[in-house]
């Protein structure tokens, strides 16, 4: 089919803008969700004054951060100090471009529910995530502050260590689907609804938990929020940051959470496929695609809720425990999972 290049470019630009705005909105409302749920867990209300149920709170937060004075301490390494939050946020925003949100529907040669569909999508996600470390490392180093430096050192060691078990936990899924393309991975899981999801039908529940735990460590979320442990390091790597630069780190953390939830959904919970398989009546292509996006959003919401729930429940663990857990427990377990999955595949004879 001949595709008009200008329509193609226009539609793609539109798609990028829509997805970015949606992602930033999701970030804002994930913050609200966190404040509300953590509030309820700690037996208080959380934000409830601005708008109905505090729904306008994120707007006010954003405005407040935007209007605050942008302090620049005198002893910082200026270029790197400014560069660090930009690296963190852009890496967090780029990775969403690989994520497919719904079924494969094209309009004028442009896929509606995905920004870019590439063969090595999963690898690019991993790569972009691993480049995101520099944001934190440089922020800590350029701040010229001992707490920031300690936070940055901790975080780079933590992220590099947990990246190993994160990557290895995905190998089982890749062995099953024989592709790095996220669409292929989802398509393989959509045959029989819930039963063919990788977490159930692919026997990848061990990998799922390894992924979840190491992803929490990658995103510096509780109980692994060592890099910014308030009680020991004031605020870790972003102690010296204020106003918009602080907001950029903040948004990067929540955007990473959303990407992690999307990847967990795609790899282990069947992406946009319905848990009921073909049992539900087929309501035509439009209903099917909207339903797909609904299931995807529901699963992602579940993971985001889990993030908040874990943060509200579990205490922070000690740093040596964290490293020991990553290297001595998660990594061997991930390797065992790979061996078990490949043995199973070999015996089944695919």
């Amino acid at each position: 089919m001949e595709v008009n290049i200008w329509i193609f470019l226009l539609l793609n630009a539109l798609k990028v803008i829509v997805v970015t705005v949606l992602l930033l909105m999701c970030v804002a409302y994930t913050v609200l969700l966190e404040r509300k749920v953590v509030g309820r867990i700690q037996n208080r209300w959380g934000p409830s004054r601005v708008g109905p149920f505090g729904l306008l709170q994120p707007l006010c937060d954003g405005l407040k951060l935007f209007l605050k004075e942008d302090l620049m301490p005198l002893s910082v390494e200026r270029p790197l100090y400014i560069l660090a939050p930009i690296i963190a946020l852009s890496c967090a925003l780029i990775s969403i471009s690989m994520v497919p949100f719904g079924p494969d529907i094209t309009f004028h040669g442009v896929q509606i529910f995905q920004i870019s569909d590439v063969n090595i999508g999963l690898l690019i996600l991993l790569g972009v995530a691993s480049v995101g470390v520099y944001g934190i490392a440089l922020a800590g180093w350029s701040s010229n502050n001992k707490y920031s430096l300690l936070g940055a050192l901790r975080s780079s060691a933590q992220i590099v260590s947990y990246e190993l078990s994160l990557g290895l936990s995905l190998v089982g899924v890749i062995l099953l689907s024989q592709s790095f393309r996220l669409r292929d991975i989802v398509d393989r899981q959509s045959a029989h609804g819930l039963l063919s999801w990788n977490i159930v039908g692919g026997f990848q529940f061990v990998a799922f938990f390894i992924y979840l735990i190491s992803a929490y460590a990658e995103a510096n979320r509780a109980p692994f929020d060592m890099p910014e442990a308030e009680t020991e390091l004031t605020a870790g790597y972003h102690t010296e940051y204020s106003s918009m630069k602080f907001a950029m780190f903040f948004m990067a953390e929540y955007a990473n959470m959303i990407t992690i939830s999307c990847v967990a959904t795609l790899l282990f919970l069947g992406g946009w496929s319905s848990p009921f398989g073909n049992l539900l009546p087929d309501g035509g292509p439009v209903v099917q695609s909207l339903l797909g996006v609904f299931w995807f959003a529901a699963k992602v919401f579940f993971f985001l809720f889990l993030f908040v729930w874990v943060r509200g429940t579990l205490p922070r663990i000690r740093y040596d425990q964290l490293m020991g857990f990553g290297w001595k427990f998660l990594l061997p377990l991930a390797i065992l999972n790979i061996v078990a999955t490949s043995l199973w595949l070999a015996l089944r004879g695919t």
Binding site: I120, L138, I159
Partner: protein
């Protein structure tokens, strides 16, 4: 299109490498090396090596260079100072390097007719092509590298640990 992409990312590579040479602080050099490596990943994509492009970003930019920045931060390495040694290196280094460059460019330009060109999307090595060769014909070297990595890990731990 291809030529434009090549010149953008090739230019980024050269600019990053020159910056590595000219900066006096190791962390700036490390950052410019990251720029070089990431733009090389794009060039690999242009050459149809998609798995290598991803591996370049994950292994080089994401792991090796993180290790470098980690060590620079850990040792709190400052700006380097000029010494008498550097003067000798300037005298020998620049002419030597220029001669090497001239030789290589001459060789490549004299063979440019035989070499042909790169057309985008004409030759693509997928991950399965790569793994088929790696796990059939080259299985033994692959296994040997795993031993190498194990030895490297043990060596690194033994070297870096504090003596009792």
């Amino acid at each position: 299109m291809h030529l434009v992409l090549f010149f953008i990312f090739g230019g980024l590579c050269v600019a990053g490498a020159l910056n590595l040479l000219l900066q006096r602080h190791p962390i700036n050099s490390a950052l410019s090396l990251i720029v070089v490596m990431s733009s090389l990943a794009v060039l690999y994509l242009l050459l149809g090596a998609e798995f290598l492009a991803a591996a370049q970003v994950i292994v080089y930019s994401g792991a090796i260079m993180v290790l470098f920045t980690f060590v620079i931060m850990l040792l709190n390495a400052g700006r380097e100072e000029r010494t008498h040694g550097s003067k000798a290196a300037y005298l020998v280094g620049f002419p030597g390097a220029a001669a090497l460059l001239a030789l290589l460019v001459y060789v490549f330009l004299s063979y440019r007719e035989q070499l042909g060109g790169v057309v985008l999307g004409e030759y693509l090595v997928t991950t399965s092509d790569l793994s088929r060769v790696l796990f059939h014909e080259l299985l033994l070297p692959f296994e040997v590298t795993s031993v190498l990595i194990l030895v490297a890990i043990l060596g690194a731990v033994a070297l870096a640990r504090k003596e009792q």
